[in-house]
């Protein structure tokens, strides 16, 4: 057993209101430099929709992630030799047009324009070339455009659905959508790390955060095409690839990452997971529909004495183990089984999990009006948002996985409704509990965690102990009177 700790997250999609506060918090902190304007390490998409960059989920187009070749895992964009062969031109690299060309307006023209007969205007100009441009796309261009036949209808997950299901999804009076906030998944089998010819991308051993060494990066951009989530970005001005750093400087200071901290809907949970790194490859080799379950299998119980003994033997810090025992992520993913990875079929074993949205699910057509279904459990198949679509997003197409989650979420609701409104017979609540397979206390715990907890319970930042780690490796006096952490020089090309 090779026990490792991973700072992981859960996003509760029922609570996401699509306000983009997380995106702005991140942008202001990390990506407001020239060449990074188009980067949104955190972005919020409307589903169904094509997302950012456009159709990022379509791996027939982008060739991201892993694929099984015989008994081996291989990058979908090609093996190592093929990757080096593509070094002079990467055919799978998305271009700026797949994201959007960043723009600003010539605001000064509004006040500086000479007197004339017409109103002065502020023309849109490109932030790349500085020349006037026609704005054709933006980072959340299809925001809330769920019914659109330009965006939603081109969602790779929707294309998989039958014509009838598509019609059901886009009928104007039944329109349904939800928001999907995305950051780097800090995967346990990251394709970006595997694709980097210069070996600049690495996973930090102690906390599993995936980072790009900016001095080692040679700008070959293989990571951009290899990441199936398109969460590494090429800085066109610096010539370096950059990605979400899970705000490690904030975490090392005991603070929540900026997007977590600023989340208005409090949808974001953070905590440590312990997992068995020896199982990574075997897990990633499973069939599409089994991947979510196999990944849960890989995650270890932080209270199991055997696991504890192995973790201590491997030299894991006691504080990390304690944080893992308090981790809300372990509860969501493993104990309660209500959080699933996004697109597990990309085989990168993402360590960010989502509680799939229940809200738009529970209503069916009732003589022309939308009504809550009489029996939630048998009507799951007739949900407004086809289960197949959700299974395609969160379970590699395995509808049973998604159904199991929904049965539990519904049981939480019925139990709370019986407690607060009191219009449900106890027998019905008992039936819901039986079907969900969860105890009364567990359902109450889920309710508490999703609606009542404060930040310290939602976001359990482990003490990352970098100060001790640094002291062990070098003389602390070395940095006395020097600069703090971070870049010693502005990230700018001077040559």
């Amino acid at each position: 057993m090779d026990i490792r700790a991973q700072v992981s997250s859960v996003f509760h999609l029922d609570k996401c209101i699509g306000c983009h506060t997380c995106s702005i918090a991140c942008k202001n902190l990390w990506t407001d430099r020239r060449g990074n304007e188009y980067m949104w390490w955190n972005n919020v998409e409307t589903k169904p929709g094509t997302g950012y960059p456009t159709k990022w989920e379509d791996q027939e187009k982008y060739h991201g992630g892993w694929e099984r070749v015989g008994s081996q895992l291989r990058l979908k964009q090609g093996g190592k030799a093929a990757t080096i062969g593509k070094i002079f031109h990467n055919p799978d690299l998305p271009t700026m047009d797949d994201y959007y060309e960043p723009f600003t307006y010539k605001y000064a023209d509004l006040t500086n324009a000479p007197a004339g007969t017409d109103q002065p205007t502020a023309r849109a100009v490109s932030m790349v070339s500085g020349k006037p441009m026609k704005i054709a796309a933006g980072p959340n261009w299809d925001d809330d455009l769920s019914g659109s036949n330009v965006y939603a209808a081109n969602d790779p997950g929707v294309i998989e659905l039958s014509a009838e299901q598509q019609q059901q999804l886009f009928a104007i009076e039944k329109m349904v959508m939800f928001h999907l906030p995305r950051i780097c998944n800090h995967c346990s089998n990251p394709a970006c790390v595997a694709s980097c010819p210069s070996g600049a991308i690495y996973k930090r051993g102690e906390d599993g955060i995936v980072l790009i060494n900016q001095d080692k990066c040679r700008g070959w951009r293989m990571c951009v095409s290899a990441c199936p989530y398109k969460k590494t970005y090429y800085g066109w001005s610096s010539g370096k690839s950059e990605k979400c750093i899970l705000c490690f400087p904030r975490q090392e200071a005991g603070e929540a990452p900026a997007c977590f901290h600023s989340c208005v809907g409090r949808i974001r949970y953070l905590g440590v997971l312990l997992y068995d790194a020896d199982k990574i490859e075997a897990t990633a080799m499973k069939a599409d529909g089994e991947l979510a379950a196999a990944q849960r299998e890989m995650i270890l119980d932080p209270c199991d004495p055997e696991v504890l003994a192995a973790a201590r033997a491997a030299g894991m810090a006691e504080q990390i183990i304690q944080a893992a025992q308090k981790s809300p992520i372990y509860k969501f993913v493993k104990q309660w089984g209500i959080a699933l990875p996004l697109h597990p079929e990309f085989r990168t074993l993402p360590m960010l999990f989502y509680v799939p949205p229940l809200l738009p699910l529970l209503s069916t057509d009732h003589q022309g009006t939308q009504k809550l279904a009489d029996d939630f459990f048998t009507s799951l198949e007739q949900a407004r948002l086809p289960l197949m679509y959700l299974a395609g997003l969160f379970a590699g197409g395995n509808e049973e996985e998604v159904k199991a989650v929904y049965r539990r979420l519904i049981a939480v609701r019925l139990q709370r409704r019986a407690a607060t409104v009191g219009d449900l017979a106890e027998a019905e609540v008992e039936r819901a509990r039986t079907i969900s397979g969860l105890e009364r206390d567990t359902l109450d715990a889920i309710y508490r965690m999703t609606s009542l907890t404060r930040i310290k319970e939602r976001i359990v930042v482990p003490p990352l102990l970098r100060e001790q780690a640094v002291e062990a490796g070098m003389d602390p006096e070395e940095y006395k009177q020097a600069m703090g952490f971070g870049s010693r020089k502005a990230p700018k090309r001077r040559w």
Partner: protein, 225 residues
Amino acid sequence: MADLILFGVFPYVAMALAIGVGLYRYTIDRYSWSSQSSQFLESRALFWGSLPWHYALLLILLAHFLAFLIPAGWGSLLGSPARLILLEVTGMALGITTLIALVILILRRVSNDRVNAVTSRIDWLLLAVLLVQVTSGVYIAISLRWGGAWYVHTVSPWLWSLLKLDPQISYLANLPWIVQLHAVNAFLLVAIFPFSRLVHVVSIPLGYLGRPYQVVIWYRQRRSS
């Protein structure tokens, strides 16, 4: 005197700049050590430019280096007329390929607003020097035939004499001006190398072939369990 400076002194100046400034830049400002790809801004024209440019140029450079490093072996390789003709034709085709590719790359930088915006003055200088180098090379190949053969007896000994710190400029002084231009311009490229995006030519990721896919870096020493 001019010959001595151009063929006897300048090559050393160029090499000293390349090594000295190159090492300085690599240690002090490694962040800037890359070719600063513009594929993200424009991909299609780059495909038709970059791919033929790099692969054809690598083969041509390989021939130049082989003929310089092992002149005897190279000479016997060209011993038979069939092989000589094959090499001449291949070299000519590769040379013309690089020329066309370079023109595509230059036009791309001129015409595409986005790519133009990330092109600096040193980039334009580099492109101009490269254009001179490739054009003169192709012109030599066409006008002074069988370069594969005479290179071994003229340029090769000159380069060896430079390497042995005993520059014999007469080898080059007696060659046509276009060959002299090609040789001096080559060292001009060497001199520009550490100041421009040309630094990327020494970053060859062969280590990637041997390393495992995943890279995990630990701060703390791990006890083996």
